[in-house]
C-alpha cells in the first residue's frame, strides 16, 4: 500500500471545499521571491486566457522559504488581461499555498503536488519551476492542452538552449533515455512538465521518496516513469528557458549524483521495459518553433580538461572497480591528446554502460561510483566543446544526435553487461 505525503489540516479542509478540479498547475519553491511573482502572474494569465471555462487550481508547494515567496504567491494576480487580449476575466483559479513534508528538494515538493492532484481528481496537471524568467502564459497552454484536449499523458518541454547549457542532459540523460526507452525526448530533465491526473497517481505509487528522487532526481523519474509505463508522450516547444545556468565545472556533483543515481535505479526497476527496445522514434511536438537569442554559457574548458587529465592519473584504480581495462586505456589516450582532450563517442558509451552495470552489481557504493564518473563527464564535455566551438548551433545539435545514435547502436553491449551482472 502506498504511503502518501501528509497534508496540513487547513489544506485538507480546503481540498474538501474545492471538491474536484479539471486542471492543476504546481509551482515548487524555496526562497524565490525575486522570480516567483512573474511565474504566478504567467500561470494565472495562462489559465485565464487559455482555460477560461475550466475549473483550475494553482498549488504552491514550498520548502519553508524564509523570504516573501509564499506571501507573493498568495497575493499576485494575473495583471491586466487586456494586454494579453482577454476580454472577459474568468473567475480566478483557486490557490493553495502549502509547505511540503519529506527531504528538502524539488521531488518532495512535487510529491505534495501529486497528492493534491490525486485528491482533486484532476484531468491534467503541469508543473513549472519558480526561478523562471522566461515563462509566458503560452507555456501553460502548451503543457496542459496536449493532455486535456489531445489525449496525451505526458508532455516534456523542449527549449532553445545554448549548446553548452544542459550538458548533463546532452551527454548522459538524453542519449541514455533515448537508447533505453526508444523515444526521442530531448529534454528529459527539463523541469517543466505536463501530465495526466492518472500519471500523477502513478508517480505517487513510487516507494523510495527518501532518496535522490526527492531532490534533483525527480525530473528523470517523471520522464522515465511515463515512458516505461507506456504513457503517451509528446513534447512542447517553449522557447528559451532563462534561469541560472550552471557552469559544468562548478558545484555539479550533487546534481549529477542524484540524476544519474535515479537513471540507474530506474533501469533496474524497469528492466523489462527497456531491455527489448531497439532504435528510437520521434514523438509529436506541439508549439511553434522559432529562433531565440540565447545567453552564452561561460564554460572553462581548460579546467574541465585539467580535471579529466588529473583523474586519469589519480582515479584509474578506482575506475578499475567498474570499468574494463580497455576503457581505462582509451580514457588515458584521450587525456593525453593536445591541445584538447578527446573522448570519442564509442568510449563514452562503453564507459556509461559499464558504469550502469557496475552500479547494478554494487561494485562501488552508488554515490562513490557516480562521483568517480564526474571527471569523465567533464572530459566528454570538454571534448564536445573542442569539436563544436567553431561550428553553428545546428551543427552542435547534429553532433549530439550522432552521439545518441552511437548509444542506440551499442545497446547490445549494455544488454550483455547487464545480463552478465545478473547471472
Amino acid at each position: 500500500m502506498r504511503a502518501l505525503p501528509a497534508l496540513e489540516g487547513a489544506v485538507a479542509e480546503r481540498l474538501k471545499r474545492i471538491g474536484k478540479a479539471d486542471v492543476l498547475v504546481g509551482i515548487p519553491s524555496f526562497n524565490n521571491e525575486r522570480t516567483v511573482g512573474h511565474v504566478v502572474r504567467a500561470v494565472a494569465a495562462g489559465l485565464a486566457k487559455h482555460f477560461p471555462d475550466v475549473h483550475a487550481v494553482l498549488v504552491n508547494s514550498d520548502g519553508g522559504s524564509t523570504d516573501r515567496t509564499r506571501e507573493i504567491v498568495e497575493r499576485t494576480e494575473h495583471g491586466s488581461l487586456e494586454e494579453i487580449l482577454v476580454d472577459a476575466a474568468p473567475p480566478p483559479a483557486a490557490r493553495i499555498v502549502t509547505p511540503y513534508v519529506g527531504l528538502p528538494g524539488k521531488g518532495s515538493a512535487l510529491r505534495t503536488i501529486f497528492r493534491i492532484a490525486a485528491e482533486l481528481d484532476v484531468k491534467a496537471c503541469c508543473v513549472v519551476d519558480s526561478d523562471l524568467r522566461s515563462i509566458t502564459p503560452g507555456w501553460i497552454e502548451l503543457l496542459v492542452s496536449p493532455v486535456l484536449r489531445h489525449g496525451y499523458e505526458f508532455v516534456s518541454p523542449l527549449y532553445s538552449r545554448h549548446r553548452y547549457d544542459g550538458t548533463i542532459t546532452n551527454t548522459i540523460v538524453y542519449p541514455m533515455t533515448r537508447a533505453l526507452y526508444g523515444k526521442r525526448i530531448r529534454q528529459p530533465i527539463g523541469g517543466d512538465f505536463g501530465f495526466s491526473g492518472g500519471l500523477a497517481e502513478r508517480f505517487l505509487e513510487y516507494d523510495r521518496w527518501d532518496g535522490p528522487v526527492a531532490r534533483y532526481g525527480i525530473d528523470i523519474f517523471m520522464t522515465t516513469t511515463a515512458l516505461a509505463e507506456g504513457m503517451k508522450p509528446c513534447q512542447a516547444f517553449l522557447g528559451a528557458k532563462l534561469h541560472d545556468p550552471k557552469d559544468p565545472g562548478a558545484d555539479l556533483q550533487p546534481m549529477m549524483v542524484e540524476v544519474v543515481s535515479t537513471l540507474f535505479e530506474l533501469m533496474e526497476r524497469y528492466e523489462e521495459s527497456w531491455i527489448g527496445v531497439a532504435g528510437s522514434e520521434a514523438i509529436p511536438l506541439f508549439g511553434f518553433s522559432h529562433a531565440v537569442g540565447l545567453e552564452p554559457v561561460p564554460v572553462k574548458v581548460e579546467r574541465l580538461a585539467s580535471i579529466f587529465r588529473q583523474a586519469t592519473e589519480d582515479l584509474a584504480s578506482l575506475w578499475g572497480s567498474f570499468l574494463s581495462e580497455q576503457s581505462i586505456t582509451s580514457l588515458r589516450e584521450g587525456a593525453a591528446t593536445r591541445p584538447d582532450v578527446t573522448l570519442p563517442d564509442d568510449v563514452w558509451v562503453r564507459v556509461l554502460f559499464e558504469a550502469a552495470a557496475g552500479w547494478r552489481d554494487q561494485r562501488l557504493p552508488p554515490e562513490t561510483l557516480i562521483k568517480a564518473l564526474v571527471p569523465l563527464y567533464l572530459g566528454k564535455v570538454a571534448s564536445f566543446i573542442a569539436e563544436t566551438r567553431d561550428g553553428t548551433d545546428e551543427e552542435a545539435e547534429a553532433r549530439l544526435d550522432t552521439l545518441a545514435a552511437v548509444f542506440e547502436r551499442n545497446k547490445d553491449m549494455l544488454r550483455e553487461l547487464w545480463r552478465a551482472g545478473s547471472r
Binding site: 515548487p28 519553491s29 524555496f30 526562497n31 524565490n32 520548502g63 528538502p104 528538494g105 524539488k106 515538493a109 519551476d129 519558480s130 526561478d131 541560472d244 565545472g249 556533483q253 579546467r303 585539467s306 580535471i307 588529473q310 583523474a311 592519473e313 589519480d314 582515479l315 578506482l318 547494478r360 552489481d361 554494487q362 562501488l364 557504493p365 562513490t368 562521483k371 568517480a372 564526474v374 571527471p375 545478473s422
Partner: protein, 231 residues
C-alpha cells in the same frame, strides 16, 4: 670424572623425562588445533550457507556493514570478513578448551596466558579492521572530492588523511593490547598539539590575509547560495 659423567647422564635423563612428560600436552594441543580449525571451518561454512540461502534468487542486498567494508576497499565485503572472524573465534575457543584439559604445571600456565590473550588480540584486530574501513572511506572521499575540484594534491592529501586515521586506529589497537601505553599517549598528545599549533600559526598568523579572504568568501558564498537556491 665419574661425578661429571653421572651429572650429565642425570641431566639428560631429567630432560628426557621432562620432554616425554610434555608430549601428551603437545599432542593435546595439536589435536585441539586440528579440532579448532575444523570447528572454525565449519562455522565459516555455516555462515556462508546461511548467507547464500538468505540471498537466494536475489542480488546482494548491500547491508550497512557490507557497504562499509566494500567502501573501505575490502573486496570480499562483510560475508568474507565475518567468515574469517568466525573461523578464528572457533580456533581460539577450542584451543582454550584444549589448554584447560592439560595437567597443571608451568606449560599450562604459559599456554593459559597466551590463550587468554587471544580474545584481546582478536578485539585489537577488529579495531584495526574498523580503522582500515574508516581510513579507506576517508581516502576515497578525499581523493574523489579533491580530483573533482581539480586540486593538484589530491592523491597525496588522500593518502595523508588515510595514514593519519589508520595510525590512530592502530594506536587504539595497541592500547587495547596494553603495548607501550604511556608512550602512545605521549606521542599522540605531542603530535595532536603540534598539528593544531602548526595549523593555527600557519593559517591564522602566516596566512592572515588568506584566512580573512577565505572566511569572507565562505560567508559570501553561503549568502549567495541562500539567495539563488531553488528546488
Amino acid at each position: 670424572m665419574e661425578h661429571l659423567q653421572q651429572g650429565i647422564t642425570n641431566a639428560f635423563a631429567r630432560f628426557a623425562d621432562a620432554f616425554v612428560s610434555v608430549i601428551p600436552a603437545i599432542l593435546v594441543l595439536l589435536a585441539s588445533l586440528v579440532v579448532g580449525v575444523l570447528v572454525g571451518g565449519l562455522l565459516r561454512a555455516l555462515l556462508g550457507l546461511v548467507s547464500r540461502l538468505a540471498l537466494r534468487g536475489g542480488r546482494r542486498p548491500g547491508s550497512l556493514p557490507d557497504r562499509f567494508l566494500r567502501a573501505a576497499g575490502l573486496e570480499g565485503g562483510f560475508e568474507r570478513a565475518a567468515g574469517a572472524f568466525s573461523f578464528w573465534v572457533g580456533v581460539a575457543v577450542v584451543l582454550a578448551v584444549g589448554v584447560n584439559a592439560l595437567e597443571p604445571g608451568a606449560l599450562r600456565n604459559v599456554l593459559t596466558d597466551i590463550v587468554a590473550f587471544v580474545p584481546r588480540f582478536l578485539a585489537a584486530g577488529l579495531i584495526v579492521l574498523v580503522g582500515l574501513g574508516v581510513a579507506g572511506i576517508a581516502r576515497r572521499s578525499v581523493l574523489l572530492g579533491a580530483v573533482n575540484a581539480g586540486l593538484p594534491w589530491a592523491r597525496a592529501g588522500a593518502r595523508g588523511v588515510s595514514v593519519v586515521i589508520l595510525t590512530f586506529f592502530v594506536a587504539m589497537g595497541l592500547d587495547h593490547l596494553g603495548v607501550a601505553r604511556s608512550i602512545l599517549v605521549a606521542a599522540f598528545s605531542i603530535l595532536g598539539g603540534g598539528l593544531v599549533l602548526a595549523l593555527a600559526l600557519a593559517f591564522g598568523l602566516g596566512a592572515r590575509d588568506a584566512a580573512r579572504r577565505y572566511i569572507e568568501k565562505k560567508l559570501r558564498a553561503e549568502a549567495e547560495d541562500t539567495g539563488i537556491r531553488h528546488v
